[in-house]
C-alpha cells in the first residue's frame, strides 16, 4: 500500500495549481519601498479625508519602532519591506453602471474563478464585492441592501461617503499599536470592505467578497470593518484565490468586527492562496489580524475558516467577549501540504459575565508541512460563570509533516469552566481498511475519512461556501496522500 500511496503522491503532486493564471490589466503602482512619501502617495491617490493621513502616519511611525514577531512556529527568509510595492490599482477606474462596461478581461478572470458575478449572481443569491488588487471594481445588490439601510461597500467608498462611521469604529478593535503587521496594514492599507447593519435589521443575503492578489510584486493590504448595531444580523463570506508567482507575496490584512447588543455576526472564510511549489519556492505570506468584539450584552460573533493555501499562515481570529451573556465561536479547518507552514488558532478573551465560547479546530498536515494550533482562552476575574470548550485535533498524513498544539489557558475566577481537549493521530488503519474492503480506492477513502473528520467545521459554513470548501478540501487532499 505504501507503494501505491507513493505513486498516487507522485501523480497528484505533479498537478499544477488550478487557479494559477495571470490577468494582464495595466496597473497603477506606487514606487517600490515604504517611506512617509509612500503613505502620502496612497492617501492622495485615494483622495481620503484628512484624519486618515494622520492615522496612517501615526501607524507608520509606530511600525518603524516595532520588531517583526518571531514567536510563531514558522520559518521564512526575512522580508525586505523596502522591496515591496505598496499600492497597485487597476488603471481604469470608471464607475460602472452595468456589467457591460466592465473590462472584459477582468470579467474573464472572475469567470475562471467561478465567481457568480453576472447571471450566476441571481442564482447564487450572493452580493459580490469583488476586490481586485485592492480597488473595488463593482458592487452588486447595492440597491436592495441600501433600501434596508445596510451599507456594504469598499473601504475607500465608505471613506468618501461615511467618514463619520469609519472614524467612530476604525481601529477600535485592532489599534495600530496592536502588532507589527497590524501597524503595517494601518499605514499602507489600500482598500477593503465596510459593512454596516443598522439597528434591528436582518441582512437578507449573505455578503461576499473575493480578494485576489493580481499584479506581481505587490502586497495586498486590505482592511475589513463590520459593524452590527443592536439586534441586527449579518453573515459575511470572504474567499481568496491567487495566481501563481515565483516571489513571495506579502499579505497583511486586518478584519475588525463590532457587535452591539443582541447583534449576531457570522464571518466565514475560505482561503486558497497559492501555497508555493513543491520545493517551497514562492507562495503567499499571510499575516492577518482578525478580531471581533461582542461589545454589549447577548451579542454573538462566529468565525469559520477553511485554510488550504498560503506558504505561511499567521492568523488568529480572536474575540473579546465584553458584554454579559455573549457568545463566541471559532471553527477552523487548516490543511497544509508540501512546504506550507501554518500557525493559526484563536483567542477568546472573556470579560463579561456568563459568556460562552467554543473552539473547534481541525488541522491536517501532509507532505513536509507544519501545522500548528495556537490559542488563548482567558477568563478574567469579572467573567464569572463563563464557559469555554476547546477541541483541537490534528491529523497527520505522511511521516515528514508536523502537527503541533500550543494552547494557553488563563483562568482568574472560580466559577468559570474551561475544557481543552486535543488529539494527534494518523488516519485510522481500521477505517481505511474498511473502505478498501468495500471497494473504495485509497484516494477516495482518504477523502472520505478526512471529510468526515472536518465535518464538524464544514457544516458551519453557509451552503454556497460549504460546496466550494468541500471541493477545495478534496483538491488539497488529492495531492496529500502519504
Amino acid at each position: 500500500m505504501q507503494n501505491n500511496n507513493n505513486k498516487l503522491i507522485n501523480k497528484v503532486t505533479q498537478s499544477d495549481y488550478k487557479y494559477g493564471f495571470y490577468t494582464d490589466i495595466e496597473t497603477d503602482k506606487a514606487p517600490k519601498g515604504l517611506t512617509e512619501d509612500t503613505i502620502r502617495f496612497i492617501w492622495e491617490k485615494k483622495n481620503e479625508p484628512d484624519f486618515m493621513l494622520d492615522f496612517r502616519l501615526k501607524a507608520f511611525r509606530h511600525w518603524q519602532k516595532m520588531k517583526e514577531p518571531t514567536w510563531a512556529h514558522i520559518q521564512y527568509n526575512p522580508i525586505d519591506y523596502q522591496d515591496i510595492i505598496y499600492y497597485a490599482a487597476p488603471r481604469k477606474k470608471p464607475q460602472y453602471e452595468n456589467m457591460n462596461q466592465v473590462d472584459p478581461e477582468l470579467l474573464e478572470t472572475f469567470n475562471k474563478l467561478g465567481i457568480p458575478l453576472e447571471e450566476q449572481k441571481q442564482l447564487a443569491g450572493v452580493a459580490v464585492d469583488a476586490v481586485m488588487d485592492s480597488t473595488s471594481v463593482t458592487t452588486t445588490y447595492k440597491k436592495a441592501l441600501s433600501e434596508k439601510g445596510i451599507i456594504f461597500s469598499s473601504f475607500s467608498e465608505a471613506l468618501q461617503n461615511h467618514p463619520e462611521l469609519l472614524q467612530k469604529y476604525m481601529a477600535t478593535v485592532v489599534p495600530y499599536t496592536d502588532n507589527f503587521f497590524a501597524a503595517l496594514n494601518s499605514a499602507v492599507f489600500s482598500d477593503g470592505s465596510f459593512v454596516y447593519i443598522p439597528k434591528g435589521v436582518r441582512c437578507p443575503i449573505e455578503l461576499s467578497t473575493y480578494f485576489r492578489i493580481n499584479a506581481a510584486n505587490t502586497g495586498q493590504f486590505e482592511r475589513t470593518l463590520i459593524v452590527a448595531e443592536e439586534g441586527s444580523y449579518v453573515s459575511y463570506l470572504e474567499g481568496c484565490t491567487a495566481p501563481m508567482r515565483s516571489e513571495n507575496q506579502l499579505h497583511a490584512a486586518i478584519v475588525e468586527i463590532v457587535a452591539h447588543k443582541n447583534a449576531e455576526v457570522k464571518y466565514s472564510t475560505v482561503q486558497n492562496w497559492w501555497p508555493g511549489d513543491k520545493k517551497g519556492k514562492g507562495g503567499v505570506f499571510n499575516f492577518v489580524t482578525k478580531r471581533g468584539i461582542c461589545k454589549e450584552d447577548n451579542a454573538k460573533i462566529s468565525w469559520t475558516q477553511v485554510e488550504t493555501g498560503s506558504a505561511i499562515t499567521w492568523k488568529y481570529p480572536s474575540l473579546i467577549l465584553k458584554g454579559n451573556n455573549t457568545t463566541g465561536e471559532f471553527f477552523s479547518v487548516a490543511v497544509t501540504n508540501n512546504m506550507q507552514q501554518a500557525d493559526t488558532g484563536t483567542k477568546m478573551i472573556h470579560s463579561g459575565k456568563n459568556s460562552r465560547s467554543t473552539i473547534i479546530s481541525k488541522g491536517i498536515s501532509a507532505g513536509k508541512s507544519n501545522n500548528s494550533y495556537r490559542g488563548l482562552v482567558k477568563m478574567s476575574k469579572e467573567a464569572t460563570n463563563s464557559r469555554n470548550y476547546s477541541q483541537c485535533d490534528s491529523l497527520l498524513l505522511g511521516n515528514k509533516s508536523g502537527a503541533h498544539t500550543f494552547p494557553y489557558i488563563d483562568v482568574q475566577n472560580k466559577s468559570s469552566i474551561v475544557e481543552h481537549e486535543a488529539t494527534t493521530s494518523k488516519i485510522s488503519e481500521d477505517q481505511l481498511f474498511y473502505c478498501l474492503q468495500r471497494g473504495i480506492d485509497v484516494e477516495n477513502a482518504i477523502g472520505l475519512i478526512v471529510n468526515g473528520y472536518a465535518k464538524d467545521v464544514l457544516n458551519k459554513l453557509p451552503m454556497e461556501f460549504a460546496v466550494e470548501a468541500q471541493k477545495l478540501l478534496s483538491v488539497s487532499l488529492e495531492r496529500s496522500i502519504g
Binding site: 514567536w71 512556529h73 477568563m379 476575574k381 464569572t384 490534528s394 497527520l396 498524513l397 505522511g398 511521516n399 515528514k400 509533516s401 508536523g402 502537527a403 503541533h404 498544539t405 500550543f406 494552547p407 494557553y408 489557558i409 488563563d410 483562568v411 482568574q412 475566577n413 472560580k414 466559577s415 468559570s416 469552566i417 474551561v418 475544557e419 481543552h420 481537549e421 486535543a422 488529539t423 494527534t424 493521530s425 494518523k426 502519504g482
Partner: protein, 473 residues
C-alpha cells in the same frame, strides 16, 4: 511608564546576577574544594554561561507567569565551607512516615549529614552518599555522568547550580541490582539567616536495576531561603525507578528544582511530584526517552493556598520509537494562590509508534486564584497517538447535590469531592506507608488544617523522635 518599569526590572535582574557572579569569584577557591580538573572545567564553563545569560526573567516565554523577581535579594548567605557533617540527624528531624523502612539520608542546607560515613557501599554494591565524597572516591563515575544529562539552557538555573555545586546526593546502583529498601532523602533548610542553597544530585541506575527514591523537602524555620536544586538521573537499559518528590516548605521559602531524566532502552520511570506547601515552588521535569520501549509515568499534585505560587514545567522528549509517556497533573488552588502548568511533548521525526498523553486538571476555589495552563504538543512523526487535555473548573454541582440530598453536609461533601479529585494522583503512589501518609496529609490539607509533617515547625509536635533507619549496615 511601562518602559521605566521594564528598565527597572532588568536593572534588578542584572544587580542580582552581579551579586551571584561576585559571590562566585570571591569564593572561588572554597567552591572548587576537591573538584578534579574535569569537574572544574565543567564548572568554569557553566559559570561563563551564567555570566552571559544571567538569571531567568519575566520576558522569557517559560517565565511569563512566574515572576522570579521576589527571589532577587542581596542578603543571601551561602554556606561554602560546612562540608558534609557528622550529625545525629534524629535530634533535628525525623520523618513521620513511621512504617516506612528506608535508607534514610539527610541533607542540611545542601550539605550531606551523616552518622557513620559520608559514603557507604551496600552489600549488593550500591553506593549511597555524599556527592562531594563521591568526587574523591569514584571520580570516574562522577566525571562520566555529571553534567551529561542536565541541559544548560538560556534560563541559567542549571548553569548557576553547576557553577556553585559542592555537595548533594549520589547514588550508584550497579547492573542487575534491586535495591531492597527505598532510599529516602530529606532536604532540610535550617538557618537563622536568608540562605541560598544549591544541592546537586546524581543518580545512576545500571542495567536491569531497580530503585525507589523518596525525596522530601522540608523547612525547619520560617526564615527566607532559596533552593536551586539540579538532579540528574540516568536509567540504563531495563532499569526501573520509582521516584517521589514530596514538597512541604514554609511560606518564605523558594524552591526551584530541575529534574533531568535520561532513559535508555526498555527502562521504566514513575515520577510523582507532590507539592503540599511552599511559598514559591517551581518544578522542572525534563525527560529524554533516548531509546526504544521506554515507559514514563509522570504525576503531579499541588494543593496551594494563601499567596503561594506553584509552577510545574514538564518536558518530554520522545527521541526514539515505541515509547510511551503519560502525564497527569492535578491541582486545587485556594485563597490567593496561583499556579502554572506547562507541559510539552516533543515527538521527533523517527519516533514512530509513540503514545504520549498529557492531562492537567485544576479546581479553583476562590475568585482570587489564578491558573495558567499550557499543554503543548509538538509532533513530527505520523504513526503516533497523542492527546492532551486541560480543564479548569469547580466541583461538580450535580455530585454535590446528590451528596447533599443524601444528608451529607455541604462542607463534608465538598471535602469528599476534593479528596476524590486528588485521590487520582495519590493512589498512584505504590509505596503503601507513603501513600497512607500522603493520604493523611492531603485530607488534613483539604480540611484546612496545616498539613505539615508532625515534626515541622508549623505544627510542632512533642512526639518522641522515632528511630531513623540508618543507611549503614
Amino acid at each position: 511608564m511601562t518602559e521605566l518599569n521594564h528598565n527597572n526590572n532588568s536593572l534588578k535582574h542584572d544587580v542580582f546576577k552581579n551579586i551571584l557572579v561576585g559571590l562566585y569569584e570571591k569564593n572561588h577557591d572554597k567552591i572548587i574544594g576537591n573538584s578534579s580538573v574535569i569537574i572544574q572545567k565543567l564548572r568554569q564553563k557553566a559559570f561563563e554561561h551564567f555570566k552571559q545569560n544571567g538569571f531567568p526573567d519575566k520576558k522569557m516565554e517559560s517565565w511569563r507567569f512566574t515572576n522570579p523577581e521576589p527571589l532577587f535579594r542581596d542578603d543571601y548567605h551561602i554556606d561554602f565551607e560546612s562540608k558534609f557533617r557528622k550529625i545525629d540527624v534524629s535530634k533535628i528531624f525525623t520523618c513521620d512516615v513511621y512504617d516506612l523502612d528506608t535508607y534514610c539520608i539527610t541533607l542540611i542546607n545542601g550539605w550531606f549529614a551523616y552518622q557513620n560515613s559520608p559514603l557507604s557501599r551496600l552489600k549488593d554494591g550500591t553506593v549511597i552518599g555524599s556527592l562531594y565524597k563521591a568526587m574523591e572516591i569514584y571520580p570516574d563515575i562522577v566525571e562520566k555522568y555529571l553534567g551529561s544529562v542536565a541541559k544548560i539552557n538560556e534560563q541559567g538555573l542549571v548553569s548557576l547550580n553547576t557553577a556553585f555545586m559542592q555537595d548533594g546526593l549520589f547514588i550508584y546502583v550497579p547492573d542487575n541490582v534491586k535495591v531492597e529498601k527505598p532510599v529516602q532523602v530529606i532536604n532540610i533548610v535550617d538557618s537563622d539567616k536568608p540562605v541560598f542553597i544549591q544541592p546537586r544530585n546524581l543518580i545512576i541506575t545500571g542495567k536491569n536495576s531497580n530503585l525507589t527514591l523518596v525525596h522530601c523537602d522540608h523547612s525547619l524555620t520560617h526564615n527566607i531561603s532559596f533552593t536551586n536544586t539540579v538532579s540528574e538521573v540516568v536509567l540504563h537499559e531495563n532499569a526501573f525507578i520509582d521516584h517521589y518528590k514530596v514538597q512541604n516548605k514554609g511560606r518564605n521559602s523558594a524552591l526551584l528544582t530541575s529534574l533531568f531524566f535520561l532513559q535508555e532502552k526498555n527502562s521504566i520511570l514513575a515520577n510523582n511530584v507532590i507539592t503540599l506547601n511552599g511559598g514559591f515552588t517551581r518544578n522542572q521535569v525534563d525527560l529524554s526517552l533516548t531509546d526504544e520501549n521506554c515507559t514514563a509515568d509522570l504525576n503531579g499534585l499541588y494543593l496551594m493556598d494563601r499567596n503561594q505560587h506553584v509552577d510545574n514545567q514538564v518536558f518530554v522528549d520522545h527521541a526514539a520509537s515505541n515509547s510511551r509517556s503519560n502525564q497527569l497533573y492535578k491541582g486545587i488552588l485556594d485563597d490567593q494562590a496561583s499556579g502554572v502548568f506547562y507541559g510539552k511533548v516533543l515527538v521527533g521525526r523517527n519516533s514512530q509508534n509513540t503514545k504520549a498523553f498529557q492531562n492537567n486538571k485544576n479546581i479553583l476555589l476562590t475568585d482570587e486564584t489564578k491558573i495558567n495552563t499550557q499543554p503543548f504538543l509538538e509532533i513530527y512523526a505520523d504513526d503516533v497517538k497523542c492527546s492532551h487535555g486541560a480543564t479548569v473548573g469547580q466541583l461538580d454541582t450535580d455530585a454535590l447535590f446528590y451528596m447533599r440530598s443524601r444528608g451529607i453536609c455541604e462542607r463534608t461533601a465538598k471535602q469528599m469531592l476534593m479528596y476524590a479529585f486528588a485521590g487520582e494522583v495519590v493512589k498512584k503512589i505504590s509505596i503503601e506507608p507513603l501513600r497512607d501518609n500522603i493520604t493523611k496529609l492531603v485530607e488534613k490539607r483539604l480540611k484546612g488544617e496545616l498539613s505539615i509533617c508532625d515534626q515541622c515547625i508549623l505544627n510542632c509536635s512533642s512526639r518522641e523522635p522515632r528511630f531513623i533507619q540508618n543507611i549503614l549496615d
